[in-house]
Each structure stands twice: as C-alpha cells, then as structure tokens.
Symmetry: none
Subunit: 190 residues, 4 copies
DNA sequence: AATGAATGAGGTTTCATTCAT
DNA sequence: CATGAATGAAACCTCATTCAT
C-alpha cells in the first residue's frame, strides 16, 4: 500500500467547497468535483465511501476550521468582555478570509442534511462560547436568558452582516463592526 | 378546450415545498414532485418552463405569502413600537403556521439561486419594515444605523429562535417571545 | 359542421416543409410545426391522422406540384428534342422557384419512408417523361437503353447541378444550363 | 484502469449505420443504438459527446471508408481512361459491398446536417477524382467544363443506378455497368 | 372546427458507483 | 494508490396523441 496522497485529498475538499458555492449543492456532482480537482471519479471513492460521506467529511472539516479560527488566541483568564470581542473579531475574520468555507456551511446547515446526520458532537466545538456566556451570566453581566438566545442576539447578527457584505461585495469596515458590537452588547447586557 | 385546472397548479407548488423540506433541495426531482402532486411529469412543464423556473415561481409565491402575512392588519397610523411588535408577532405566527414555507425560503436563500436570479424587486415586498424603522430613527427611538442593521438585530434573531424551536420540536412560548422582543428592543433602541 | 379552413391546412403544410428544411426531418415535431403554423397541436390532428400521415400527405402534395410544374405547357405534338428541353427548363425553374419543396423531396426520398409507404402510383405522375423517352427511342434518337438509365443521365445531373447552386448560393446561369443540356444530350443520344 | 474496448466502439458505429438504414435517421435513438450494440446508453457518451457528435463521427468514418475503397489500387501513372474506369468500378463495388454505408451517407447528405457541420475538409478525400478530370481536360479528352459538372454526368449517374438496383433488389450486372460507362464517357468526352 | 390541457411513453443525457488494470 | 472504462438508474425534458370544452 502506498501512502495517502494528501494533495489529492485536499484538492477534492477544495473542489467540493468551490462547486457548492458556485453552482449550488444540488448541481454539484461527483464528476464535476473530480474534474475540478483534477482526479479521476474513482479516486474520490478511495477516500470517501460515497457522495454523502464526502459531504459530511467536508462539512466536519470546515466546521472544525471555523471553530479553530474562532477561538484562536483565546485566553480563559481574560475578562468576559475581552473574550466576547475576541470571538466576534475572530469570527468576522474567518468569514472574510474563508469566505467559501462560511458560505458552504450556511448552505449545508439550511438543508435537511445535518438533521439526517444527527450531529450532536459539533456543539462541543463551540464550547468556549457557552462557557463565556455562562460566566458572564454568573457575573451578572448578561441577561439571565438561555445561552442560545444570547448567541442569536450577539453573534448571529454579526455573521449575517458580514455575509451581506460578502454577497454584495461591499467592505465591512471597523466602524460598522464596532457599531455592531455595541448593538450586540446592548441586546444581551443585563 | 379543457379549462385550466388550478388544483393541479396548487398541488405542484405544495409538493415542491414539501419535498424540499423533507428530502432537501438537491434530492427533489421533477418525477418526485409529479408523483406527490398526482400529476404527470409533463403537466409540470405546461405551467413551468423548466425545473429552475418552477423553483423560482415557487420561491416568489412563498415570499409573497410571507410578506402578506407579515403586514396583515398593519396600521400606518399606529406608533412605531406597536408596528414593531405587530410585525414580529405576525412573523412568528407565519413561521409557525407556514412552517414549510419558511424552511423552504431559508433553503433557497442560502443557495446560489437568488443571486443567479437577480431579484431586486423582492425587497419591495418588505417596504413596511423599512418605513417603520425609518420613522423610528427620525423620532429618535432607534440608533442612527443602517436599517439593515436594525433588522438584523431585531427581526432576524426572532426568526432564528423560532426556527430553532421548529427544528427541535419544542414550543416557542409567549414568555420566551416577550423576552426576545425585549432583547430586540434593547439592541436597536437609541 | 363548419367547413374546412384551408388557410390552416396550408399553414401546416408550409410549416412542415420549412421545418424539415431548416432543422431536418429528425428534429421536426408536431409541436414545432403547430407553433410555426400558428395553430394548436390538436388542430393538426383534425386534418391528419398522425404524424406520418401528415408527412405522407405533404410529400404527395409536393410531388404533385413538381409534376404539375414540370410538364406545364407541354405539347405532345412537339418534337422529342423540344419536349426534352421543355422538361429540363421547367424542372430547373421548379427547383429554383420552389427551392424548399425540392429539398424537402430530396430529404424524404433518401429516407426509408417511401419504401415503407409502397408508393407505385407516384411513378405515373411522371408519365410524360417516359413517353418522351420512349418516342425518342423509337425514332432512333436515343440509345436503346432502359428509360431509367436515360433519365439518370439526362435529367438527374441537371437537378444535381441546380441543387449544388442552391446550396452554395451561386446562380445557375443560362450558359451553364445550356452546357448541361448539351452533356445530357450527348450522354443519351444514339 | 480498464483498457479501451474497441469492440464496443465498433459495435456502436455499426448499430448506428444499421438503424439509420432500417428505420431511418429520424427514428434512430440512442437507446435503440445502445440496445443493438449491446452496450449501455451511458457507454455511448464515453466515446461521443452527444447524439449529433456520434452521427458526425460515423459520417466521417464512413466517408473515409468510401474514399479509401474508391481509390484502392489507383495508379497515377495509368492513363486517364484507365483511372476513370477504375474509379467507377471501385465505386460500384463499394456501393454493393458496403450497401449500408452508402445508403447511410445518402441519408445524411440529404439532410441539413452537413451544412450545419461546415465540413470543407471532406472534399479533399476525393482529390484523385479532381486530378483525374483535370488531367483529362488538359489532354483534351474531356469537355472544358467545371469538374463538378463532369462528375455529375459521369459518376453520379452510376451511383444512382447502383442505388436503384440496391433498392429494388435486382442485380446490377456487368452489361448494364458497361452500358453506363459508355454513357458516362459520351457525356463528358470532348 | 378549433384548441389549451393533459399525459404515458420515450427521448437525450448525467448520475453515483464499480470494475479491471 | 490511481484511474479510464463501464453501466443501471434516474435525471430533465419533449414527444405524439387524446380529451373536454
């Protein structure tokens, strides 16, 4: 057995993500992925059981990357506010740098696939967010609401704004970002 | 000449929406739609040029329905706060009553299709929201930010919460909704 | 019963011939014919049993037209040579005036359809040619060969030349036609 | 990698030609070709881009075969008359041996396809005919007419006669062929 | 007579996947 | 490991034809 050729594996992942973004999830076929990745159709089946498995693995990889970037340089000893701002900045940075990863995720997450896959484990990837909000709640900084609610009012809107700028091509500048952070904070603060 | 059978047209729309929700956009084929709608494959092509056209028309229909429900009973003479709460209540009502319409929209809007279709006109469907926020800004009730930002911090989170409850089957009760409205208001108020 | 609407019948014939010439026999469908003729699909079935019947009738009509034009002004009392030249001139005139009729015939006659239809009767349409050649043979003007052979060496080449000019768009002038007639005569003369 | 199976490629060509002859160009479908060739529909698309491409390639192949057979054993040092007779005999031989190839060609060439394909290069396949006639003209053997005219009066009629015998099943014997050659010669000789 | 509506059958093409090298 | 060849199944769409008005 020769060893796994990571160049090809990577090329397949990239081609998948690009195609899903360019032509959509529904139009993305194995043949098209193979062609874009410059490998044979059959090669894809060496690394992935079938099409759905390829999608699942790509999804997990991308979600892992997002988690990694989101908590990059996170220091548990910092204050809640500092951690809050770090996460948001990192998130926006991720969305802008890995534009295609982000849009790929949005497309998959709004399809019935994740429910079919029953992925509870992915929540753990975002554990630091939960911890940060829990701490904040205990310190009386945040409203005593469900953490999902705090997320939906503080992080989601920033992502949505960044997505909007991504789609219409306009830049999401610091001034706008700071205004957003203020609104996030206003929404969730006690 | 046989007369146009609107039952069939309606059945095709419904089948499309249901299937996109059940098995996803990618797996929804004309054959499956036809079978579910109890019509022949060919019948679909009498009313729609091709598969994409069917999706586009379904999308527009559903978006129209959402707009209609969202501003039902809207009274321009009411205060901004009353209008704000009316919209949010109507929206949540819509999401819960027309669950499948809402999830269908989410799936389409997160695919590359809308960009391909270049639909600027659909923004006009939500004109009353823009007017409400503009009035509120002029009255000094809201932060002097772009209306899109106000929307993203007040309406979007509610939709996201409702969607979450839809997906995990738990009810979205009045207490939760009121807490959400408070957060929305906190986020955007001046 | 209302009376037969010859406008529509004619429009259907014309559309059929035009389409067969434009896009070919294989691509010509009832729907396309109906659209080009500005009638409903179903209207075609009032006048023709089915698609093949439509083609057969169109073929017979066109072949009849060709025969009619070919022997227009033919005078049985004229000399064989005069009749010979009259036929050739008429034929060339027909090909150039009814270009589409002629090319339609060529397409049908080189398909397996005529054999399927077993049309012996159409030979009778060209009786005057046979008579002319028979008379010529009896008068010792022509070679004592089968009349089909005489036709193939005198009339067919002219048709082929005319067709060539039709297809590449160059004119088939009198000088060329006369040269052709000389060659025809040389080929068959005793 | 499985190696290219030329048996299949050949079977597809043969099935195409046979079907076009049996049921006609218009009724010849990919499915029928695949069934007759004992391959899957999809296999055809490995070797041919689409149906039209299959037809074009089949056409070119058959035309090449015809050219090859037509000039088999041609010796440029022989006299014009010898070359002339060689070509005609070879052509008749081809028509009779490769009956289906010939009838396939006739059907395609009388459809609008060749014009759509803009094939100028195929003329070069018949270069030796042009050369033979040019030499004959220079030697004063033939009339000083366009070579196409000489072809149309000497070779085409023989083909037409052979085709006639093919279609009604009667043999085209040597005596008839010789009579035809005499007429060909009479038509074009100076 | 005329036609829009409707459809089962079948068209071309692409799909996801497996096989043999 | 890698891949071109191969394919059954199914995709989208159009066909010829019939029906009800």
């Amino acid at each position: 057995m020769r060893h796994r050729d990571d160049t090809k594996v990577e090329a397949i992942f990239d081609a998948t993500i690009q195609l899903v973004n360019e032509i959509g999830f529904a139009e993305t076929s194995i043949s098209k992925i193979a062609k874009k990745a410059n490998v044979s159709n059959a090669t894809i089946y060496i690394y992935h059981e079938n099409k759905e498995d390829l999608l699942l693995k790509t999804y997990l990889k991308v979600k892992g990357k997002m988690s990694e970037k989101m908590f990059q340089g996170m220091d548990e000893s910092r204050t809640v506010k500092e951690r809050f701002e770090s996460i948001i900045h990192n998130f926006v940075e991720f969305i802008q740098t890995y534009k295609e990863y982000f849009l790929f995720l949005e497309q998959i997450m709004n399809s019935p696939l994740p429910q079919k896959w029953c992925l509870d484990d992915t929540a753990s990837l975002f554990q630091p967010i939960f911890e940060m909000f829990d701490t904040g709640k205990r310190q009386g900084l945040f409203k005593q609401e469900d953490v999902r609610m705090l997320i939906v009012y503080s992080i989601l809107p920033v992502a949505e704004l960044a997505k909007g700028h991504l789609k219409d091509g306009t830049p999401f500048n610091d001034q706008q970002l700071n205004a957003a952070i203020v609104m996030s904070w206003d929404a969730i603060k006690a």
